[in-house]
Amino acid sequence: MNQTDASPQRIRKFPGRSPYVLLLLPAIAFLALFYLIPLSWIIRVSFYTHVPGAYMVPAFTAQNYLRLVTDPWYIRNSLWLTLKVALISTLASVVLAYPPALLITRSTGKLRRFLLVSVLAPLLISMVCLIFGWIVMFRGHGLMNQVLLGLHLVREPVQWMYNTFGVTLALIYISIPYVVISLLDSLQRVDPSWEEAARNVGANGWQTFLKITLPLSIPGAVSGSMIALTLNICAFAVPLLLGGEKVPMAGLVAYYQALEVNNLPFGAAISVMLLLASLLVIFVFQKVLHALYLKRMEVS
């Protein structure tokens, strides 16, 4: 997004009236009609009431929201579960994104390109295919258990799927490429001569990483966590494909309520809460990033 600040000489005005309106209008109209209005509509629907058999009835009530925050089942099994799974998978994906990001930063030429494409490839492959491959590997008698049993590391097949553990693992898998992109952004700004200087005064690899590389990569880790956390809080496809009703994360409950139970107002209320939660995450993390950059400017 650094490109939005165009240098003044790049912006030039064609003679005549303002054609930018004509250029922008089609896209803005399209987005208004099929994006802004639907989003506003879902917020409105979240205040409707649900009458079994009658789809939904226009109203202005907060009962859908109250149900979400007062019903102990939703608090414990859905909201708390969502928060827990999202936080754990975000943290783990940031940690696991460091080695490939460092590896890519330190390599050059064809190898770098190959590694980069390998890490980014899952982003361009359908979620269904990724999770299908995941199921093939982690099924009861799948590859993973065959290997573990063969090596006598476990006595019985491990239950990798259809539980919170499995969903968390898959969310980590899905998040890693996004975090790697953010980390690369920061790591590539680290001047290699600083790491070299640390080595020259006798620091080993770990010390160099902890004292030089890690602190300098914090902005990337923060923006990566922001992306992963918003994705994971609102996760719906992964728990749907891997956990089913056993892992009722909030996004999945919204889907079930709206499309299976036909309680659209309640589903709408859950998704509005998710929208607010991800906006909150973005807001807080942006503040943190801003503070980090200010601090860095003071130091340098």
Binding site: M1, Q3, T4, A6, R10, I11, R12, F14, S18, L23, L24, P26, A27, F30, L31, F34, P38, W41, I42, V45, L96, P99, P100, L103, I104, T105, T108, R112, R113, V117, S118, L120, A121, L124, I125, S126, M127, V128, C129, L130, F132, G133, V136, I176, I181, D185, Q188, G205, I233, C234, F236, A237, Y255, A258, L259, S271, V272, L274, S278, I282
Partner: protein
């Protein structure tokens, strides 16, 4: 050393589910690994399945039309955005990129309830529009990037020697940014081709894109036929990854700065 070993292990881990799917699709004993022999049996079964064949055409049609819409709108608005200064520019940028930030489950639910209200649910139109909304940020971003890497003085020269604005675009601007447009189009196409979440909300029973067809299939039957269909999806993704990487660089398109 530690970084190298764990880094390579994690990269391999990221690719493993993809590799395993492709191996299973061609393996004569299906899920039984190690592979025992090469077969196209699973693909034969897949192309005899009506849901998969229809899903293939639905996905193809939706991806083509949605990415054409997104590329067209992205091209126009990227021009307006990059070449002119106007009040509220930051807001326009935020509007164009925000569909990426809104959680898919929220967008899916919003579009679903909107199309139900408009009596457009379970139509190709709904799928195309829903996909196009998620693609606009991608094409806008890619085309904006290629316009920023462009020397405006070349356009000015053409205008100065008397070329019209349309001629300038056709002879100067387009040839230079066409790779960016192409990369944006292919990225949009493949994102629509792969889309599962929005499709699941908008697909009824008449028009079911391939990823949703796979989901419906593996809910009841888990065999190597699904691996074969997944492989067809992955194959097209592979082609897209290759082309994007050759034209603009996959890293650049996905927002990784040059190291």
């Amino acid at each position: 050393m530690f970084v190298r070993v764990t880094g390579i292990l994690i990269v391999v881990g990221l690719l493993l589910p993809i590799g395993v799917t492709v191996v299973v699709a061609f393996n004569s004993s299906g899920f039984l690994l190690p592979p025992s022999g090469f077969t196209l049996r699973w693909f034969e079964k897949a192309v005899r399945n009506r849901d998969f064949v229809q899903g293939f055409y639905v996905s193809l049609a939706v991806a083509t039309v949605a990415s054409l819409i997104a590329t067209g709108l992205g091209l126009l608005s990227a021009f307006g955005y990059v070449r002119y200064s106007f009040p509220g520019k930051d807001w326009v940028n935020l509007l164009f990129l925000s569909p990426l930030m809104v959680p898919v489950v929220v967008l899916g639910l919003a579009l679903y309830s909107y199309f139900v209200a408009l009596h457009l649910n379970d139509t190709l139109t709904a799928l195309v529009i829903g996909h196009a909304i998620t693609l606009i940020p991608l094409s806008f971003r890619t085309i904006t990037a290629s316009l920023y890497n462009f020397d405006v003085s070349m356009e000015e020269a053409a205008l100065n020697v008397g070329a019209s604005r349309i001629q300038t675009f056709a002879w100067i601007t387009f040839p230079i940014i066409k790779l960016g447009i192409l990369a944006g189009f292919i990225l949009s196409f493949i994102m629509s081709w792969n889309n599962f979440s929005i499709s699941l909300f908008l697909a009824g029973s008449k028009y079911v894109p391939l990823p949703v067809a796979i989901y419906s299939y593996i809910k009841f039957e888990f065999d190597a036929v699904a691996a074969a269909v997944s492989t067809i999806l992955i194959l097209l993704s592979g082609v897209a990854i290759f082309v994007i990487d050759r034209t603009m660089g996959l890293g650049a398109v996905m927002g990784v700065r040059k190291g």
